[in-house]
Amino acid sequence: MLAFMLDTVWQLLGGVPLTLSLTAFAVANGFVIALALVLMRSSPLLIWPARLYVFLFRSVPLLVLIFLVYYGLSQFSSLRASFLWPYLREPYWCAIIALSLNTSAYSSEIIRGGFQAIPRGQIEAATATGMPRFTLLRRILLPLAIRQALPAYCSEIILLLKATSLVSIITLMEITGIAHRIIASTYRPFEVFICAGAIYLTMNFAITRIFLAVEYRLSPHLRPAPDAPAPQREASA
């Protein structure tokens, strides 16, 4: 049994690059779109499409979204004739599109929460220096918002990584896809899924550690001062 599991893990590891690339692409796209959605919310006109986007892609189950993109789009002949078709007929790109739409909606809400948590006074202080809007965004708002949003955003990336398992249904041979294939020939779902689960667990452990490290690096202001005794707060209270 141990030999079987080792062999299974070895085979499943072949799906890791695909799982990771799907996740990475979707996270990158999702972040950019999410940021744009958050910025749209400060405009009285653009706030409505932004809200609609979030409402739509947060409400539709990811699996349905994947089906819509993969099977649904091919129904339109104009699309089949367009330059996009070489991409849209590939399950890989369809998966990335569906995952990006889904995670961008969630991420935008997370980042929006980060923005909302910025103390008003710190924004005013920047405004009062005459700081232009874009500089304000880049130097003050984003750094503060991202720090605030980091823990929740880490969860979103973990959710996304796990959600990539759904794309096995449109023929992509990532970890779960390979697991299905092994099970089909061995009838040993228990061992195989244990192995798959262990691989997801390991990857998510790594993601968690990375985010913890980033958080630590970005938040020296939340730790005690280097020269201060630790229980300073209770002493003064």
Binding site: A128, T129, T135, R147
Partner: protein, 267 residues
């Protein structure tokens, strides 16, 4: 003898004329005028709700006035009527330029939490005024040393006491080399034992000839340091004059009551 036309020297650094500000139906400022000349320290007193903070916030357009004129140096802030009849700045660049000449110190310090004290001080000189980093750092170090924070350069705001944070915030405003410093109740959020160190910094700035507009509850400080004291009541200037005039012969009944209440609050 003829009266000489007002020379450039006599031109006020800041002129506010007939400033009005309403929030919805509530009229907070009902027509306030004031002038600040170079090197003057003007204290603005008043009960809460008298409009003193709003006046200060209107001057650098953190609030947009409903009516009136604000002239900084020889430049009048251009306002225009926006949608719905509310006033808004006509020229965002001009607002930025004028704001960078007015240093603002807030009641709750408002230092940027993710930046060290040094980074807080050099932020606007580098990213707003586009000054070279080395120069900004050098100047910031000198200023921080002057306010007694030389050993806190690399600390974050959360690591400092309220008094230290406010001194850092004053330094941040000074680093812009402003024509005027605006103080919005700079000691009101401080523990009583920390008020002194902030007032000491403000006192030395006044002695150096910094032009300052100070909204404050520190009557004693206003009396000792100001060239002029303004008492606001219900959005209007009720009393104005030198400290001797204002505190010597108190004619306004509401100013007398205000001083009485403040004295009781401090005893």
């Amino acid at each position: 003898m003829t009266i000489a036309p007002s020379s450039a020297l006599a031109m006020p650094v800041l002129r506010v004329a007939d400033l009005k500000k309403s929030f919805g139906a509530l009229e907070v400022l009902k027509g306030v005028s004031l002038e600040a000349h170079k090197g003057e320290v003007i204290s603005i007193l008043g009960a809460s709700g008298s409009g003193k903070s709003t006046l200060l916030r209107c001057i650098n357009l953190l609030e947009v006035p409903s009516a009136g004129r604000i002239v900084v140096g020889n430049e009048e802030i251009k306002l225009k009527q926006g949608a719905g009849g509310r006033m808004k700045p006509a020229d965002a660049r001009q607002v930025g330029r004028i704001r960078s000449r007015l240093g603002m110190v807030f009641q709750s310090f408002n230092l940027w939490a993710h930046l060290t004290i040094l980074e807080n001080v050099i932020e606007a000189p580098i990213y707003v005024q586009r000054r070279p980093r080395a120069e900004a750092v050098e100047e910031a170090r000198a200023l921080l040393e002057k306010v007694g924070l030389a050993d806190k350069l690399n600390h974050y705001p959360a690591h400092l006491s309220g008094g230290q944070q406010q001194r850092a915030a004053i330094t941040r405003a000074l680093a812009m080399r402003p024509d005027i410093l605006l103080f919005d109740e700079p000691t009101s959020a401080l523990d009583p034992e920390l008020v002194g160190e902030v007032l000491a910094v403000m006192r030395s700035l006044a002695a150096e000839g910094m032009t300052m507009l100070i909204v404050t509850h520190e009557i004693q400080f206003a009396r000792e340091v100001s060239n002029r004291v303004i008492f606001l009541r219900d959005g209007l200037v009720e009393v104005e004059g030198t400290p001797e005039e204002v505190f010597g012969q108190i004619r306004s009944e509401s100013f007398r009551r205000f001083l009485g209440a403040s004295a009781r609050g401090h005893s």
